[in-house]
């Protein structure tokens, strides 16, 4: 009998129980984040070497980033991680309204971060600090400062792309939850989205001292 039903409706689910599914998904997400660590790691390695090579120019260029906005943005992102953690916690106990509110807050804080970043980019454009776009700097530190701003735009730009993807995922989760409520896999999906969100937050935790805290004293 069991053989017949197996033929009629083949079981395509590779997992024998939900716990196994959760562990496999968890490991998959962490492996992805490990590759992401090395993806961003190349930029950090380049930063370390160039800062050792051009210490004076990095200090001079570092003073041109916006300390107040960078710090405010760090606070926003840390708060967004709290909201994401609360979304995961409320999803675990199937509290739909609370989960929706926390997902919404997470996405809103992510968007606020991107808006502030855009404002900073504009200010830097006006001040001729964008490499290849009429970059201007004190002749003595020109080369090193240009490298600093290349790294600044690539690191923050790639981070902003990741954050944009995170916002899209969070909005998608919220829309699905609002439309069709909790499915069997919903809490797990939100948990995995949370891991990604926190990772992007960690990247910023290291970008912040690299780009905003040089030579402020």
């Amino acid at each position: 009998m069991t053989h017949d039903t197996a033929l009629a409706a083949p079981n395509t689910d590779p997992f024998s129980d939900p716990r196994q599914r959760r562990d496999a998904s968890d490991l998959g997400m962490w492996l992805f984040l490990t590759t992401e660590t090395l993806f961003f790691g190349v930029l950090f390695a380049g930063y370390v070497i160039m800062r050792a090579r051009f210490p004076h120019a990095f200090a001079a260029a570092g003073r041109h980033t916006d300390f107040a906005l960078g710090t405010a943005n760090t606070a926003l992102l840390l708060t967004s991680s709290l909201c994401m953690a609360l979304a995961v916690a409320t999803a675990e106990v199937n509290r739909r309204r609370a989960t929706l509110i926390w997902l919404g807050a997470t996405a809103a804080l992510g968007i606020a971060f991107l808006a502030i970043k855009g404002f900073e980019y504009h200010a830097e454009y006006v001040e001729h600090l964008v490499p290849a776009l009429d970059f201007r700097f004190d002749a003595r530190d020109f080369r090193g400062a240009e490298i600093f701003f290349w790294l600044y735009f690539v690191m923050t730009g790639v981070h902003a792309l990741h954050l944009t993807a995170g916002v899209a995922v969070v909005v998608l989760m919220a829309a699905r939850l609002a439309r069709s409520g909790f499915g069997k896999q919903t809490p797990l999906s939100i948990e995995l989205a949370g891991l990604y969100w926190h990772f992007v937050d960690i990247v910023w935790i290291f970008v912040y001292p690299c780009l905003y805290l040089i030579a402020r004293s």
Partner: protein, 91 residues
Amino acid sequence: MRNARARPYVLAWIALLVLLGLSAGSSLLALGTFNLVSNFAIAALKAALVVIVFMHIRRSERTVHVAAAAGIVWLALLIALSLSDFLARGS
């Protein structure tokens, strides 16, 4: 009542903001090399808080711990070996 435990997350968030204040504040003081050390020590501490409290790494399987450790080890190798090459050239 289906309750979610919010307390550890809120405490971690407060700690993260205090650490942010510390790193922003200390960078305004002229501490020489200690500025650099404290900035990155604080960043590492913040990252550890996020990984342990928000990402619940202790709830994960041992294989996840290996994956996370591998990322950190390879990154350390990448930076240390590149830097040693650079420093050894003495230019």
